[in-house]
Amino acid sequence: MNLPGSGILKGMAVTAVNFIGSFFDRAHAKRLITEQYPEERPILVETSRSFPFLVFDGDPEKGIRCTACKICEKECPPQCISIVKAKDANGKPILRPQIFDIDISVCMGCQICVEVCPFESIRMDNIYEVSAYDRFGTLVLHKDQLLKSNEYYRQIHPTEAAQTDARIEAVRVKKAAAKAASAKAAAAKAAAAQAAQTQPEPAA
């Protein structure tokens, strides 16, 4: 049987230990784990994700990977993506978005768009300071704001970017081989090779 009051004393010993311990936790590992935000910034882990962005290679206009296939628009659970296909001078649709908007006030960062994209073109960013004064205008990101280079992608998600690059490279090699084959083959055969080139599903 415990003396009445001993439990309270035991509890007070715990708070006292934490009180003193918090002054000796220089590494901020055990007790004082709070980050002093504007001065200390969190070191994000590689996989950390926030909002989507569009990857381009080299030139932001020509190197854009997105083909405006609208799969992400369809699959996005909160329906925050909006895409309009670009048209050439004759009014014929081309495989490039004219408009690509993501409303990040609606976006919930689930990265389903990333998983469903067959062209490795939409990826998750890790920015976290995206506040704005205007709820309606500023939080809709347009194409020019969304486009970020592959180098940036490699920088924020190195492992994932390396895997993506490898996949793209594999597809490119395959394509080149197919092209070489098709150059040799007859024109009729070329059409068949074209069909085989459809991109594989990305591994989810």
Binding site: I8, G11, V45, S48, C76, P77, M108, G109, E115, A204
Partner: protein, 380 residues
């Protein structure tokens, strides 16, 4: 609304000394926007009526408009304290519906993240019930300190601390990053020390004992009839844990015990969580040792445009708060025909009035805290 400056505002008084108070939806300790209409005589509760719906967003309707995969991130937002187990319950229901096999490694990963989620839920519970009792946040802050470390693990694994969107039909979205297992194992090693600290701080404390023991007693029979589940059910002495009963995943290969109480009061509910957390550590240690290499996602399952065969299924898991089930009806299309969540938080409240009658208003908060609800799941 009429305004009478010199009359009392105590409307709806029934009999001498009765006082109707609406506790919530804005109240410091209703765990969100929960509301209870309470009738009191003095401070003793004579009637209690929970009012729901302040966080209602018709999750089920949204899911019926979304693809099967598209509902996965929404399940994160049901019980936002433990999103991974919500993912798991949904994935398991869909896997039952479509008869999908899950690779072994994925099952182990699910057990690991699921038990980590249980750890963090029970940790946070310990803090919140103390806050409900008016302890000025020490236990809560220690709990959040530890939860932070588990959330860091989740962020590393899934990319997000809370809204993980991690499970997929037939596995998990991505494999464990290099070094994750070691970090997680090292963390789990430190966890018993934290539990010891919490026990030193709490379990002997006379005020805490007086506040918890004998409050809100619930018999096992009533608990079963009321459909209660999880730690609340087991605290009432019912030996029922879906991890054992349904033996889903790789749980049959892991050895762990199911603690259950003998009295069924708030103290038992409190202690059951502590004991369960210790069992979770055992499960985690075994899972760390046993996890095999291999694929983490069944390659036969097409996630995008997923179309399960027509039919219906009820799949459930033992979530940290109780039985989390999904009742799904497919008509073979890309969207669920019916998607129903069996929310443990809501159904555990069924007997709230029964537990609270005759207790003091301060006890109501403790009983509510001991049930451990999350409004995201109650109101959906």
């Amino acid at each position: 609304m009429s305004f009478h400056p010199h009359t009392s505002s105590f409307n709806g008084v029934q009999g001498a000394g009765a006082l109707d108070v609406s506790l919530g939806p804005q109240h410091p300790s209703t765990h969100g926007v929960f509301r209870m209409n309470v009738r009191m005589e003095g401070e003793t509760i004579t009637k209690l009526q929970p009012v729901f719906g302040y966080l209602h967003r018709n999750h089920e309707k949204i899911a019926e408009a979304n693809s099967w995969l598209g509902s996965m991130p929404y399940t994160d937002r049901l019980d936002y304290i433990c999103p991974i187990t919500n993912n798991w319950a949904y994935a398991r229901a869909v896997e039952q519906l479509a008869g999908i096999e899950v690779p072994e490694r994925a099952e182990y990963i699910r057990v690991i993240v699921g038990e980590l989620t249980r750890l963090q839920n029970h940790t946070v519970f310990l803090g919140f019930i103390l806050a409900d009792m008016g302890a000025w946040g020490s236990a809560l802050m220690y709990a959040f300190r530890e939860r932070e470390k588990i959330l860091d693990l989740f962020e590393w694994l899934t990319g997000a601390r809370m809204m993980v969107n991690y499970m997929r039909f037939g596995g998990v979205r991505c494999d464990l990053p290099v070094g994750w297992l070691e970090k997680a194992r090292a963390y789990v090693e430190t966890y018993p020390a934290f539990l010891d600290e919490m026990e030193r701080l709490l379990t002997g404390n006379e005020i805490l004992l007086a506040r918890l023991q004998g409050v809100g007693i619930l018999s096992g029979e009533r608990a079963i009839n009321g459909g209660l589940s999880g730690p609340v059910l087991r605290a009432s002495g019912v030996d029922y844990d879906i991890r054992k009963v349904d033996a889903y995943g790789v749980y049959p290969r892991l050895s762990f015990r199911i603690p259950r109480g003998t009295v069924g009061d708030c103290y038992d509910r409190f202690m059951i969580r502590l004991l369960e957390a210790r069992e979770s550590i055992r499960i985690l240690q075994q899972a760390f040792a046993q996890i095999p290499a291999g694929p983490t996602l069944n390659p036969a399952v097409k996630q995008r445009g997923f179309k399960p065969p027509a039919g219906e299924a009820y799949g459930r898991i033992e979530g940290p708060k109780g039985e989390l089930g999904f009742h799904l009806i497919s008509q073979g299309g890309e969207k669920p025909y019916r998607y129903h969540v069996r929310p443990p938080s809501l159904i555990n409240l069924t007997l709230l009035e029964e537990m609270c009658l005759g207790t003091k208003i301060a006890d109501v908060m403790v009983i509510l805290g001991s049930i451990d609800i999350v409004l995201g799941e109650v109101d959906r």
